[in-house]
Protein backbone atom coordinates (compact mmCIF):
# COMPACT_ATOMS: atom_id res chain seq x y z
CA UNK A 1 0.00 0.00 0.00
CA UNK A 2 2.78 2.42 0.95
CA UNK A 3 4.77 1.37 -2.11
CA UNK A 4 1.76 2.12 -4.28
CA UNK A 5 1.34 5.53 -2.66
CA UNK A 6 4.98 6.43 -3.35
CA UNK A 7 4.72 5.06 -6.89
CA UNK A 8 1.60 7.11 -7.50
CA UNK A 9 3.24 10.31 -6.30
CA UNK A 10 6.40 9.60 -8.27
CA UNK A 11 4.47 8.86 -11.47
CA UNK A 12 2.58 12.11 -11.03
CA UNK A 13 5.88 13.96 -10.66
CA UNK A 14 7.34 12.23 -13.71
CA UNK A 15 4.18 12.99 -15.65
CA UNK A 16 4.45 16.74 -15.12
CA UNK A 17 8.22 16.98 -15.51
CA UNK A 18 9.18 18.33 -18.96
CA UNK A 19 12.55 16.61 -18.67
CA UNK A 20 10.99 13.11 -18.60
CA UNK A 21 8.74 13.91 -21.56
CA UNK A 22 11.61 15.42 -23.52
CA UNK A 23 13.74 12.34 -22.93
CA UNK A 24 10.88 10.07 -24.02
CA UNK A 25 10.00 12.18 -27.06
CA UNK A 26 13.61 12.38 -28.29
CA UNK A 27 14.09 8.65 -27.79
CA UNK A 28 10.90 7.70 -29.61
CA UNK A 29 11.67 10.15 -32.44
CA UNK A 30 15.19 8.77 -32.86
CA UNK A 31 14.00 5.17 -32.81
CA UNK A 32 11.09 5.93 -35.17
CA UNK A 33 13.56 7.43 -37.66
CA UNK A 34 15.75 4.34 -37.40
CA UNK A 35 12.68 2.12 -37.74
CA UNK A 36 11.74 3.82 -41.01
CA UNK A 37 15.28 3.40 -42.32
CA UNK A 38 15.28 -0.28 -41.30
CA UNK A 39 11.90 -0.87 -42.96
CA UNK A 40 13.13 0.77 -46.16
CA UNK A 41 16.22 -1.44 -46.09
CA UNK A 42 14.12 -4.51 -45.45
CA UNK A 43 11.82 -3.71 -48.37
CA UNK A 44 14.86 -3.56 -50.68
CA UNK A 45 16.14 -7.02 -49.75
CA UNK A 46 12.80 -8.65 -48.94
CA UNK A 47 12.51 -10.65 -52.17
CA UNK A 48 16.09 -11.95 -51.96
CA UNK A 49 15.60 -12.94 -48.30
CA UNK A 50 12.39 -14.80 -49.16
CA UNK A 51 14.37 -17.07 -51.47
CA UNK A 52 16.73 -18.13 -48.66
CA UNK A 53 15.79 -21.20 -46.63
CA UNK A 54 15.73 -20.23 -42.90
CA UNK A 55 16.70 -16.69 -43.94
CA UNK A 56 16.23 -13.77 -41.55
CA UNK A 57 12.82 -12.17 -41.56
CA UNK A 58 11.26 -8.86 -40.55
CA UNK A 59 11.71 -9.66 -36.85
CA UNK A 60 15.46 -10.31 -37.23
CA UNK A 61 16.15 -7.37 -39.52
CA UNK A 62 13.83 -4.67 -38.18
CA UNK A 63 12.16 -5.49 -34.83
CA UNK A 64 15.00 -6.97 -32.76
CA UNK A 65 17.68 -4.45 -33.89
CA UNK A 66 15.25 -1.65 -33.06
CA UNK A 67 14.84 -3.02 -29.54
CA UNK A 68 18.62 -3.40 -29.27
CA UNK A 69 18.94 0.30 -30.09
CA UNK A 70 16.56 1.08 -27.23
CA UNK A 71 18.83 -0.96 -24.92
CA UNK A 72 21.78 1.21 -25.98
CA UNK A 73 19.76 4.39 -25.49
CA UNK A 74 18.70 3.15 -22.05
CA UNK A 75 22.33 3.29 -20.93
CA UNK A 76 21.83 7.05 -20.98
CA UNK A 77 18.09 7.23 -20.31
CA UNK A 78 17.98 5.26 -17.06
CA UNK A 79 20.59 7.36 -15.23
CA UNK A 80 18.96 10.60 -16.43
CA UNK A 81 15.50 9.45 -15.37
CA UNK A 82 16.52 8.17 -11.94
CA UNK A 83 19.27 10.62 -10.99
CA UNK A 84 17.08 12.97 -8.95
CA UNK A 85 14.72 10.36 -7.54
CA UNK A 86 16.60 10.02 -4.25
CA UNK A 87 19.60 12.37 -4.55
CA UNK A 88 17.31 15.22 -5.61
CA UNK A 89 14.80 14.49 -2.85
CA UNK A 90 17.60 14.48 -0.31
CA UNK A 91 18.94 17.82 -1.54
CA UNK A 92 15.46 19.38 -1.60
CA UNK A 93 14.74 18.13 1.91
CA UNK A 94 11.68 16.17 0.81
CA UNK A 95 13.14 12.73 1.62
CA UNK A 96 12.66 13.26 5.39
CA UNK A 97 9.02 14.10 4.62
CA UNK A 98 8.58 10.61 3.17
CA UNK A 99 10.21 9.05 6.22
CA UNK A 100 8.03 11.17 8.49
CA UNK A 101 4.98 9.83 6.67
CA UNK A 102 5.81 6.47 8.23
CA UNK A 103 7.06 5.00 4.96
CA UNK A 104 9.69 2.31 5.25
CA UNK A 105 12.91 2.66 3.21
CA UNK A 106 11.77 -0.38 1.21
CA UNK A 107 8.45 1.26 0.34
CA UNK A 108 10.22 4.48 -0.67
CA UNK A 109 12.75 2.72 -2.90
CA UNK A 110 10.30 0.24 -4.43
CA UNK A 111 7.70 2.94 -5.06
CA UNK A 112 10.22 5.05 -6.91
CA UNK A 113 11.64 2.05 -8.73
CA UNK A 114 8.28 0.88 -10.01
CA UNK A 115 7.41 4.41 -11.14
CA UNK A 116 10.66 4.75 -13.11
CA UNK A 117 10.27 1.23 -14.46
CA UNK A 118 6.70 1.96 -15.57
CA UNK A 119 8.02 4.98 -17.48
CA UNK A 120 10.73 2.88 -19.14
CA UNK A 121 8.24 0.13 -19.98
CA UNK A 122 5.93 2.68 -21.58
CA UNK A 123 8.86 3.64 -23.77
CA UNK A 124 9.42 -0.04 -24.59
CA UNK A 125 5.75 -0.44 -25.51
CA UNK A 126 5.94 2.64 -27.76
CA UNK A 127 8.98 1.22 -29.52
CA UNK A 128 7.53 -2.30 -29.76
CA UNK A 129 4.39 -0.82 -31.29
CA UNK A 130 6.41 0.27 -34.34
CA UNK A 131 7.18 -3.20 -35.72
CA UNK A 132 3.90 -4.54 -34.31
CA UNK A 133 2.01 -1.95 -36.39
CA UNK A 134 3.16 -3.81 -39.52
CA UNK A 135 2.00 -7.19 -38.25
CA UNK A 136 -0.85 -7.16 -40.78
CA UNK A 137 1.44 -6.67 -43.78
CA UNK A 138 4.44 -8.77 -42.81
CA UNK A 139 5.16 -11.97 -40.92
CA UNK A 140 6.33 -11.37 -37.38
CA UNK A 141 8.03 -14.10 -35.37
CA UNK A 142 5.95 -13.54 -32.23
CA UNK A 143 7.96 -15.98 -30.12
CA UNK A 144 11.26 -14.33 -30.91
CA UNK A 145 9.72 -10.89 -30.41
CA UNK A 146 8.31 -11.93 -27.02
CA UNK A 147 11.73 -13.22 -25.90
CA UNK A 148 13.36 -9.99 -27.06
CA UNK A 149 10.74 -7.94 -25.23
CA UNK A 150 11.32 -9.98 -22.06
CA UNK A 151 15.05 -9.37 -22.40
CA UNK A 152 14.49 -5.68 -22.92
CA UNK A 153 12.12 -5.43 -19.96
CA UNK A 154 14.68 -7.15 -17.74
CA UNK A 155 17.52 -5.00 -19.04
CA UNK A 156 15.51 -1.81 -18.51
CA UNK A 157 14.62 -3.05 -15.02
CA UNK A 158 18.29 -3.66 -14.22
CA UNK A 159 19.47 -0.31 -15.60
CA UNK A 160 16.72 1.51 -13.72
CA UNK A 161 17.62 -0.27 -10.48
CA UNK A 162 21.30 0.62 -10.96
CA UNK A 163 20.36 4.25 -11.59
CA UNK A 164 18.23 4.34 -8.46
CA UNK A 165 20.98 2.78 -6.34
CA UNK A 166 23.42 5.42 -7.55
CA UNK A 167 20.84 8.11 -6.79
CA UNK A 168 20.53 6.72 -3.26
CA UNK A 169 24.26 6.97 -2.63
CA UNK A 170 25.06 10.22 -4.43
CA UNK A 171 24.78 13.63 -2.81
CA UNK A 172 23.91 15.36 -6.08
CA UNK A 173 21.75 14.18 -9.02
CA UNK A 174 24.53 14.88 -11.53
CA UNK A 175 26.90 12.67 -9.55
CA UNK A 176 24.23 9.97 -9.47
CA UNK A 177 23.83 10.12 -13.25
CA UNK A 178 27.59 10.01 -13.77
CA UNK A 179 28.04 7.07 -11.42
CA UNK A 180 25.15 5.15 -12.97
CA UNK A 181 26.50 5.78 -16.46
CA UNK A 182 29.98 4.63 -15.47
CA UNK A 183 28.62 1.52 -13.76
CA UNK A 184 26.39 0.62 -16.71
CA UNK A 185 29.23 1.11 -19.18
CA UNK A 186 31.44 -1.06 -16.98
CA UNK A 187 28.82 -3.82 -17.04
CA UNK A 188 28.45 -3.37 -20.78
CA UNK A 189 32.18 -3.63 -21.36
CA UNK A 190 32.99 -6.20 -18.64
CA UNK A 191 33.42 -9.05 -21.09
CA UNK A 192 35.80 -6.99 -23.23
CA UNK A 193 37.98 -6.26 -20.19
CA UNK A 194 37.82 -9.90 -19.15
CA UNK A 195 38.92 -11.10 -22.57
CA UNK A 196 41.80 -8.66 -22.59
CA UNK A 197 43.03 -9.63 -19.17
CA UNK A 198 42.33 -13.37 -19.63
CA UNK A 199 42.40 -13.57 -15.87
CA UNK A 200 38.86 -12.92 -14.67
CA UNK A 201 37.47 -13.95 -18.04
CA UNK A 202 34.63 -16.27 -16.95
CA UNK A 203 33.52 -13.96 -14.12
CA UNK A 204 33.74 -10.86 -16.27
CA UNK A 205 31.92 -12.72 -19.01
CA UNK A 206 29.12 -13.59 -16.60
CA UNK A 207 28.95 -10.04 -15.26
CA UNK A 208 28.73 -8.51 -18.75
CA UNK A 209 25.19 -7.42 -19.46
CA UNK A 210 25.19 -7.68 -23.28
CA UNK A 211 25.92 -11.41 -23.26
CA UNK A 212 22.75 -12.16 -21.29
CA UNK A 213 20.68 -9.72 -23.30
CA UNK A 214 21.86 -11.03 -26.68
CA UNK A 215 20.72 -14.55 -25.85
CA UNK A 216 17.23 -13.29 -25.11
CA UNK A 217 17.27 -11.06 -28.20
CA UNK A 218 18.00 -14.13 -30.30
CA UNK A 219 14.82 -15.67 -28.98
CA UNK A 220 16.38 -18.01 -26.43
CA UNK A 221 15.01 -17.68 -22.92
CA UNK A 222 17.55 -19.25 -20.56
CA UNK A 223 16.89 -19.28 -16.84
CA UNK A 224 20.46 -18.20 -15.97
CA UNK A 225 20.06 -15.08 -18.10
CA UNK A 226 16.76 -14.22 -16.45
CA UNK A 227 18.32 -14.95 -13.05
CA UNK A 228 21.26 -12.65 -13.85
CA UNK A 229 18.93 -9.71 -14.44
CA UNK A 230 16.79 -10.49 -11.40
CA UNK A 231 19.88 -10.74 -9.20
CA UNK A 232 21.20 -7.44 -10.55
CA UNK A 233 17.86 -5.75 -9.85
CA UNK A 234 17.61 -7.26 -6.35
CA UNK A 235 21.18 -6.31 -5.45
CA UNK A 236 20.83 -2.71 -6.67
CA UNK A 237 17.50 -2.23 -4.89
CA UNK A 238 18.79 -3.81 -1.67
CA UNK A 239 21.73 -1.39 -1.68
CA UNK A 240 19.37 1.55 -2.30
CA UNK A 241 17.10 0.45 0.58
CA UNK A 242 20.12 0.11 2.84
CA UNK A 243 21.27 3.64 2.02
CA UNK A 244 17.84 5.19 2.50
CA UNK A 245 17.50 3.38 5.83
CA UNK A 246 20.90 4.76 6.85
CA UNK A 247 19.63 8.30 6.19
CA UNK A 248 17.25 7.98 9.13
CA UNK A 249 20.07 6.75 11.33
CA UNK A 250 22.78 9.13 10.10
CA UNK A 251 20.66 12.22 9.63
Amino acid sequence: MSTLAVMRVELRRLGVRPFAWTLAALSVAWLAWNFLIAVAGFLKVQTRLAALPEGPGFTDIVAVPLLAQLAQLAILLAPLLTMSMLAGERRAGTLPLLRAAGLSPRAIVLGKYFAALAWMLLLLIAVAAMPASLAGTTTLDWGKLAAALLGMALALGALTALGLACSAYASHPALAAGAALALTLALWAASLGGSAARMAGPLAGYLALPGHLETLMRGLVASDDVLYFLLLIALALALAVRRVAADRERG
Binding site: M1, R8, V9, R13, L97, R99, A101
Partner: protein
Protein backbone atom coordinates in the same frame (compact mmCIF):
# COMPACT_ATOMS: atom_id res chain seq x y z
CA UNK B 1 7.33 3.77 32.24
CA UNK B 2 5.12 5.47 29.63
CA UNK B 3 2.85 8.28 30.79
CA UNK B 4 -0.64 7.14 29.80
CA UNK B 5 -2.05 10.71 29.71
CA UNK B 6 0.71 12.00 27.45
CA UNK B 7 0.23 12.15 23.70
CA UNK B 8 3.94 12.61 23.19
CA UNK B 9 6.64 11.31 25.45
CA UNK B 10 10.37 11.70 24.98
CA UNK B 11 12.42 9.55 27.34
CA UNK B 12 16.15 10.30 27.61
CA UNK B 13 16.36 11.02 23.88
CA UNK B 14 19.82 11.72 22.51
CA UNK B 15 21.15 12.25 19.04
CA UNK B 16 24.78 12.24 18.00
CA UNK B 17 25.72 13.85 14.70
CA UNK B 18 29.25 14.22 13.40
CA UNK B 19 30.74 13.12 16.70
CA UNK B 20 28.89 15.54 18.96
CA UNK B 21 25.69 15.33 20.96
CA UNK B 22 23.21 17.54 19.14
CA UNK B 23 20.52 16.48 21.60
CA UNK B 24 21.41 14.90 24.93
CA UNK B 25 19.14 13.12 27.39
CA UNK B 26 16.03 15.03 26.48
CA UNK B 27 12.90 13.99 28.38
CA UNK B 28 9.56 15.70 28.15
CA UNK B 29 5.88 14.93 27.74
CA UNK B 30 3.06 16.69 25.98
CA UNK B 31 -0.64 16.28 26.69
CA UNK B 32 -3.48 16.74 24.17
CA UNK B 33 -4.35 20.42 23.74
CA UNK B 34 -0.98 21.68 24.98
CA UNK B 35 1.15 24.01 22.87
CA UNK B 36 4.81 23.63 23.70
CA UNK B 37 7.07 26.45 22.59
CA UNK B 38 10.49 25.02 21.82
CA UNK B 39 13.10 27.73 22.14
CA UNK B 40 16.83 27.86 21.70
CA UNK B 41 19.56 29.63 19.80
CA UNK B 42 20.61 28.32 16.36
CA UNK B 43 22.22 24.91 16.77
CA UNK B 44 20.57 24.29 20.13
CA UNK B 45 18.99 21.09 18.80
CA UNK B 46 15.42 22.25 18.16
CA UNK B 47 15.13 21.06 14.55
CA UNK B 48 16.86 17.76 15.34
CA UNK B 49 14.47 17.22 18.23
CA UNK B 50 11.51 17.94 15.98
CA UNK B 51 12.80 15.61 13.26
CA UNK B 52 13.05 12.84 15.86
CA UNK B 53 9.53 13.55 17.13
CA UNK B 54 8.27 13.47 13.53
CA UNK B 55 9.95 10.12 12.90
CA UNK B 56 12.26 11.45 10.18
CA UNK B 57 15.37 10.91 12.27
CA UNK B 58 16.15 8.03 14.63
CA UNK B 59 17.36 8.88 18.14
CA UNK B 60 20.85 7.58 18.96
CA UNK B 61 19.47 6.68 22.39
CA UNK B 62 16.16 6.92 24.21
CA UNK B 63 12.62 6.54 22.93
CA UNK B 64 10.01 8.75 21.34
CA UNK B 65 6.48 7.58 22.13
CA UNK B 66 3.40 8.93 20.40
CA UNK B 67 0.02 7.80 21.72
CA UNK B 68 1.92 5.39 23.93
CA UNK B 69 3.69 3.64 21.05
CA UNK B 70 7.38 3.72 20.31
CA UNK B 71 7.93 5.42 16.94
CA UNK B 72 10.87 3.14 16.12
CA UNK B 73 8.73 0.03 16.57
CA UNK B 74 5.53 1.41 15.03
CA UNK B 75 6.35 3.87 12.23
CA UNK B 76 2.72 3.75 11.05
CA UNK B 77 1.91 5.93 14.10
CA UNK B 78 3.86 8.72 12.42
CA UNK B 79 1.73 8.46 9.27
CA UNK B 80 -1.51 8.69 11.22
CA UNK B 81 -0.77 10.80 14.25
CA UNK B 82 1.88 13.36 13.33
CA UNK B 83 1.81 16.38 11.06
CA UNK B 84 5.27 17.87 10.51
CA UNK B 85 6.25 21.17 8.97
CA UNK B 86 10.04 21.27 8.73
CA UNK B 87 11.96 24.50 8.45
CA UNK B 88 11.60 26.19 5.01
CA UNK B 89 8.73 23.84 4.03
CA UNK B 90 10.36 21.43 1.55
CA UNK B 91 8.06 20.91 -1.44
CA UNK B 92 8.06 19.20 -4.83
CA UNK B 93 8.39 22.20 -7.16
CA UNK B 94 6.87 20.50 -10.21
CA UNK B 95 3.52 19.81 -8.51
CA UNK B 96 0.70 22.30 -8.16
CA UNK B 97 -0.70 23.19 -4.74
CA UNK B 98 -3.64 20.86 -5.32
CA UNK B 99 -1.42 18.01 -6.56
CA UNK B 100 0.80 18.56 -3.57
CA UNK B 101 -2.05 18.11 -1.16
CA UNK B 102 -3.18 15.01 -3.04
CA UNK B 103 0.36 13.57 -2.91
CA UNK B 104 0.62 14.25 0.83
CA UNK B 105 -2.84 12.74 1.30
CA UNK B 106 -1.90 9.57 -0.58
CA UNK B 107 1.28 9.20 1.45
CA UNK B 108 -0.78 9.53 4.64
CA UNK B 109 -3.26 6.92 3.46
CA UNK B 110 -6.14 9.24 2.48
CA UNK B 111 -8.20 8.25 -0.56
CA UNK B 112 -11.29 9.31 -2.54
CA UNK B 113 -13.94 11.36 -0.76
CA UNK B 114 -11.95 11.52 2.49
CA UNK B 115 -9.02 13.06 0.62
CA UNK B 116 -11.26 15.46 -1.29
CA UNK B 117 -12.91 16.63 1.93
CA UNK B 118 -9.57 17.04 3.72
CA UNK B 119 -8.12 18.95 0.77
CA UNK B 120 -11.11 21.30 0.60
CA UNK B 121 -10.91 21.88 4.36
CA UNK B 122 -7.24 22.90 4.41
CA UNK B 123 -7.46 24.91 1.18
CA UNK B 124 -10.25 26.93 2.71
CA UNK B 125 -8.74 27.19 6.19
CA UNK B 126 -5.33 28.33 4.96
CA UNK B 127 -6.73 30.52 2.23
CA UNK B 128 -4.96 28.57 -0.51
CA UNK B 129 -7.96 28.12 -2.83
CA UNK B 130 -6.82 30.75 -5.33
CA UNK B 131 -3.33 29.24 -5.39
CA UNK B 132 -4.64 25.72 -6.01
CA UNK B 133 -3.54 25.46 -9.68
CA UNK B 134 -0.21 27.20 -9.13
CA UNK B 135 3.09 25.27 -9.14
CA UNK B 136 4.72 24.92 -5.73
CA UNK B 137 8.03 25.96 -7.28
CA UNK B 138 6.81 29.49 -7.99
CA UNK B 139 5.19 30.20 -4.61
CA UNK B 140 6.51 32.95 -2.34
CA UNK B 141 8.08 31.98 0.99
CA UNK B 142 4.89 32.76 2.89
CA UNK B 143 2.77 30.79 0.43
CA UNK B 144 5.19 27.85 0.69
CA UNK B 145 4.86 27.94 4.47
CA UNK B 146 1.08 27.90 4.21
CA UNK B 147 1.18 24.97 1.80
CA UNK B 148 3.60 23.11 4.08
CA UNK B 149 1.26 23.76 6.99
CA UNK B 150 -1.70 22.58 4.91
CA UNK B 151 0.15 19.31 4.22
CA UNK B 152 0.84 18.91 7.94
CA UNK B 153 -2.82 19.51 8.82
CA UNK B 154 -4.32 17.48 5.96
CA UNK B 155 -4.84 14.21 7.84
CA UNK B 156 -6.01 16.00 11.01
CA UNK B 157 -3.20 14.60 13.19
CA UNK B 158 -3.45 14.77 16.98
CA UNK B 159 0.17 15.97 17.15
CA UNK B 160 1.58 18.88 15.13
CA UNK B 161 5.31 19.49 14.93
CA UNK B 162 6.02 22.93 13.47
CA UNK B 163 9.46 24.37 12.83
CA UNK B 164 9.32 28.14 12.39
CA UNK B 165 5.83 28.10 10.87
CA UNK B 166 5.56 31.91 10.79
CA UNK B 167 8.72 32.21 8.71
CA UNK B 168 7.92 34.44 5.71
CA UNK B 169 4.35 35.21 6.81
CA UNK B 170 3.16 38.82 6.81
CA UNK B 171 1.68 40.20 10.07
CA UNK B 172 -1.88 39.36 9.01
CA UNK B 173 -0.95 35.82 8.07
CA UNK B 174 1.08 35.43 11.27
CA UNK B 175 -1.98 36.50 13.26
CA UNK B 176 -4.13 34.04 11.31
CA UNK B 177 -1.58 31.32 12.10
CA UNK B 178 -1.82 32.08 15.82
CA UNK B 179 -5.60 31.84 15.63
CA UNK B 180 -5.29 28.54 13.78
CA UNK B 181 -2.92 27.12 16.40
CA UNK B 182 -5.23 28.15 19.22
CA UNK B 183 -8.15 26.49 17.39
CA UNK B 184 -6.18 23.31 16.91
CA UNK B 185 -5.16 23.23 20.57
CA UNK B 186 -8.74 23.88 21.65
CA UNK B 187 -9.78 20.88 19.55
CA UNK B 188 -7.27 18.72 21.45
CA UNK B 189 -4.28 18.80 19.12
CA UNK B 190 -0.92 18.87 20.87
CA UNK B 191 1.55 21.20 19.20
CA UNK B 192 5.33 21.45 19.37
CA UNK B 193 6.19 24.89 18.05
CA UNK B 194 9.78 25.85 17.40
CA UNK B 195 10.46 29.53 16.88
CA UNK B 196 12.92 32.32 17.51
CA UNK B 197 10.15 34.86 18.04
CA UNK B 198 9.46 35.04 21.77
CA UNK B 199 6.28 37.09 21.36
CA UNK B 200 4.89 34.26 19.24
CA UNK B 201 5.50 31.89 22.14
CA UNK B 202 3.88 34.16 24.71
CA UNK B 203 0.93 34.66 22.35
CA UNK B 204 0.03 31.01 21.80
CA UNK B 205 2.02 28.59 23.94
CA UNK B 206 0.88 27.07 27.18
CA UNK B 207 4.34 25.72 27.99
CA UNK B 208 7.90 26.63 27.18
CA UNK B 209 10.93 24.39 26.81
CA UNK B 210 14.32 25.95 26.25
CA UNK B 211 17.08 23.88 24.71
CA UNK B 212 20.69 24.95 24.94
CA UNK B 213 23.57 22.96 23.50
CA UNK B 214 21.30 19.96 23.11
CA UNK B 215 20.11 19.89 26.71
CA UNK B 216 16.76 20.86 28.15
CA UNK B 217 17.44 23.85 30.42
CA UNK B 218 13.90 24.99 31.14
CA UNK B 219 10.52 23.29 30.92
CA UNK B 220 7.63 25.02 32.63
CA UNK B 221 4.16 26.38 31.96
CA UNK B 222 4.36 29.78 30.30
CA UNK B 223 2.60 31.31 33.32
CA UNK B 224 5.60 30.40 35.47
CA UNK B 225 7.82 32.52 33.28
CA UNK B 226 6.03 35.77 33.85
CA UNK B 227 3.06 35.40 36.14
CA UNK B 228 2.79 36.71 39.68
CA UNK B 229 3.97 39.89 41.32
CA UNK B 230 6.40 40.71 44.10
CA UNK B 231 5.05 43.32 46.52
CA UNK B 232 7.50 45.37 48.56
CA UNK B 233 6.06 46.96 51.68
CA UNK B 234 7.44 49.94 53.58
CA UNK B 235 6.59 48.20 56.84
CA UNK B 236 5.68 44.64 57.85
CA UNK B 237 1.95 43.74 57.66
CA UNK B 238 -0.16 40.66 58.38
CA UNK B 239 -0.27 38.32 55.34
CA UNK B 240 -4.01 37.83 55.87
CA UNK B 241 -4.59 41.52 55.03
CA UNK B 242 -3.12 40.89 51.60
CA UNK B 243 -4.85 37.55 50.92
CA UNK B 244 -8.15 39.27 51.77
CA UNK B 245 -7.82 41.66 48.81
CA UNK B 246 -10.12 40.98 45.86
CA UNK B 247 -7.46 40.72 43.07
CA UNK B 248 -5.31 38.29 45.09
CA UNK B 249 -5.64 34.56 44.48
CA UNK B 250 -2.68 33.54 46.60
CA UNK B 251 -0.02 35.29 48.64
CA UNK B 252 3.22 33.94 50.10
CA UNK B 253 5.49 35.81 52.42
CA UNK B 254 9.13 35.90 51.32
CA UNK B 255 10.21 37.88 54.35
CA UNK B 256 8.76 40.60 56.57
CA UNK B 257 8.56 43.19 53.80
CA UNK B 258 8.27 41.13 50.62
CA UNK B 259 5.21 39.16 49.52
CA UNK B 260 4.82 37.08 46.36
CA UNK B 261 1.29 37.46 44.98
CA UNK B 262 -0.57 35.40 42.38
CA UNK B 263 -3.46 37.32 40.84
CA UNK B 264 -6.96 36.14 40.12
CA UNK B 265 -7.98 35.85 36.45
CA UNK B 266 -8.68 39.28 34.96
CA UNK B 267 -6.68 41.14 37.58
CA UNK B 268 -3.48 42.99 36.74
CA UNK B 269 -0.72 44.94 38.50
CA UNK B 270 -2.73 48.20 38.43
CA UNK B 271 -5.77 46.68 40.14
CA UNK B 272 -3.52 45.10 42.76
CA UNK B 273 -1.77 48.42 43.40
CA UNK B 274 -5.14 50.17 43.76
CA UNK B 275 -6.38 47.49 46.15
CA UNK B 276 -3.22 47.67 48.27
CA UNK B 277 -3.34 51.45 48.55
CA UNK B 278 -7.12 51.40 49.07
CA UNK B 279 -6.67 48.98 51.99
CA UNK B 280 -4.16 51.36 53.56
CA UNK B 281 -1.20 49.06 53.15
CA UNK B 282 2.27 50.69 52.92
CA UNK B 283 3.06 49.83 49.29
CA UNK B 284 6.69 50.60 48.42
CA UNK B 285 7.16 48.63 45.20
CA UNK B 286 5.58 46.24 42.73
CA UNK B 287 7.47 44.11 40.17
CA UNK B 288 7.10 40.81 38.31
CA UNK B 289 7.71 37.93 40.73
CA UNK B 290 9.44 35.71 38.21
CA UNK B 291 11.66 36.94 35.41
CA UNK B 292 9.82 37.25 32.07
CA UNK B 293 10.46 34.70 29.34
CA UNK B 294 12.91 36.92 27.52
CA UNK B 295 15.10 37.22 30.61
CA UNK B 296 15.00 33.46 31.22
CA UNK B 297 15.87 32.80 27.60
CA UNK B 298 18.81 35.19 27.57
CA UNK B 299 20.08 33.86 30.89
CA UNK B 300 20.11 30.33 29.47
CA UNK B 301 21.29 31.15 25.97
CA UNK B 302 24.27 33.15 27.11
CA UNK B 303 25.34 30.58 29.70
CA UNK B 304 28.59 28.88 28.79
CA UNK B 305 28.89 25.14 29.15
CA UNK B 306 31.15 23.75 31.83
CA UNK B 307 33.28 22.19 29.12
CA UNK B 308 33.64 25.49 27.28
CA UNK B 309 34.44 27.26 30.52
Amino acid sequence: MPDSAALLELAAVSRRLAGRNVVAGLSLTLAPGEILGLLGVNGAGKSTTQAMIAGALAPSAGTVRVQGRDLAAAPDVARRAIGWLPERAPLWPELTVREHLDACGHLRGLRGPALAAARARVLERLDLGALSPRLAGVLSLGQRQRLGLACALLHAPPLLVLDEPANGLDPLQADALRTLLREQAAAGTAIVLSTHVLTEVTAVCSRVAILHEGRLRHDAPLAAAGDGLRVTLAAPVELTRITALAPVARAESENARHVRVTLREGADAATLARALVGAGLPLAGLEPAAPPLERIFFAIATRRTEAAA
